[in-house]
Symmetry: C2
Subunit: 296 residues, 2 copies
């Protein structure tokens, strides 16, 4: 009964000969523990986090529920392997539109070994992580004719200006069109008291205060779909905790900064989807900041 | 009439054979333009910023007033050289206590050349920049017996746990004592409607929104002293703009994150100067987050 989750938009996908997560169609998500230390590390995080009384319940809602680990046949056919048993976040949504946003200018913890740091730093510079404080790791948008689902290489090559356009496509009925995204669902997905922006602001308030964990290389997974009565429901969850480290009494300024940058993008799209009144870099040459140069 | 500013706690100090800033004792601060591009870059920033109508006046107060450049005899005896003419921020304060806090986990802009990036990254890792999102670059605290003024090497070697102690010493009457800092001035310097925390929160609100500039390697310079009627007056200013780059429509998530981290430290000291009720990493072993390890 186990199958690859249809809403997975980043990371390794389960298929013949490849290890990936599985869902059971009745609300559980099974993530295989990788053989290196990452799997154990993520399991240790879930175990610690799920039993930590200092995490308020309104924050806990932003994390998948954790139900221990379980031996299951691996998707790559290599036999049984321990899997994290998690709640399938989007199981209540039919054919959801999903975007994976990896938060933080740095995806590596300060105490990382040099080779790991350099590998991550290269990716952070090649993508928008360093400039925007986050990067898009994948997305798919439900359309009348199927899914808009740009491939990995296209997603990797997004520039800073692409990102705003893609965040508009995510809430548009014409994401696959070359004309401007129509932002048909912007008010109901990004706006309102249950919208994405409201949820991100709630997360932000916690990150301004919490000093328990630093969430390196963690993603905000945002999705939406119509529920049984045809109403669009947005959902937000944090995912991928293989590189979380202890906070040691310090806030997670790296995650918080990136989250605030994402919040600013979403706010701008919500306020002015057509960019008729946009400020900053879009004021036109005459009003722009003089070029400062980057000599260092 | 020009002399080195008594409140300079970081950077090159003007003296025989060494280039450094000078003050005229009547409210002006003269900063020599370095021969490399940094000097011109800082002048370009001041020129752009001081004439930018998009900067609100309550934010402009956190920046030294700029009055162009002027040829002046350099402090190193090398002859005349252009100097930035700035307001001497602390000229109204007699014998101020001053701390220089360099904000941001990364002190280098994303588009920096590799060699500059690696040099900065090494310093950011060796100091508290990467872990705390800021580092102390220097301080001096006025005491009954003179100034507490730890030397450069001591300041460079501060660890994360040193930083909280030093932020307490900064508002204590016994900073040079080996016993616990008494935090004698914490309420009046960090607290209140004109205190450091209130000022940093005002800056934070702007940084959540502004997309004009990214302030790499910029410091919060905080100071306080008694005024004519014996009342303690705190002051905050941003300084050192040689590595500012254009924001290009994105918030400065690096500076904002570091600023929020500093705000959290100051809030904690203000709420609980003796750490009787401290949370997070200080709850004692039994309640601490299980060690997650850092294998990556």
């Amino acid at each position: 009964m186990l199958k690859p989750p249809e809403h997975q938009v980043a990371g390794h996908q389960a298929r013949e000969g490849q290890l990936g997560p599985l869902v059971d169609g009745s609300g559980r998500f099974y993530k295989p523990l990788q053989s290196d230390s990452r799997g154990e590390h993520e399991a240790a995080f879930y175990s610690s986090f799920s039993s930590d009384p200092r995490v308020p319940s309104h924050v806990r809602c932003f994390f998948p529920g954790f139900h221990g680990t379980q031996l299951l046949p691996a998707s790559d056919g290599s036999g049984e392997r321990p899997h994290l048993v998690l709640d399938d976040i989007f199981s209540s949504l039919l054919r959801p539109s999903v975007i994976d946003l990896k938060i933080g200018a740095c995806t590596w913890a300060p105490n990382s070994p040099d080779n790991y740091l350099m590998k991550c730093l290269r990716k952070d510079r090649e993508t928008t992580s360093l400039t925007l404080g986050f990067r898009i790791s994948g997305l798919r948008v439900n359309t009348a004719s199927g899914f808009y689902n740009p491939d990995k290489n296209q997603v990797k090559s997004y520039t800073s200006s692409d990102v705003k356009r893609v965040l508009k496509k995510f809430v548009s009925s014409n994401p696959d069109s070359s004309s401007d995204p129509d932002c048909a669902y912007v008010a109901v997905v990004y706006g309102g008291s249950e919208g994405l922006l409201a949820q991100l602001l709630e997360l932000k308030a916690w990150f301004e205060d919490q000093t328990l964990y630093h969430f390196y290389s963690v993603s905000v997974l945002a999705g939406y779909a119509r529920d049984e009565v045809g109403r669009i429901r947005p959902l937000v969850s944090l995912v991928d905790f293989a590189h979380v480290v202890e906070g040691d009494g310090v806030i997670d300024h790296n995650f918080l900064g990136g989250l605030c940058s994402l919040i600013k993008f979403i706010s701008e799209i919500l306020i002015d989807p057509d960019e008729k009144f946009s400020s900053g870099g879009c004021l036109g040459e005459s009003k722009r900041t003089p070029q400062l140069g980057n000599e260092n």
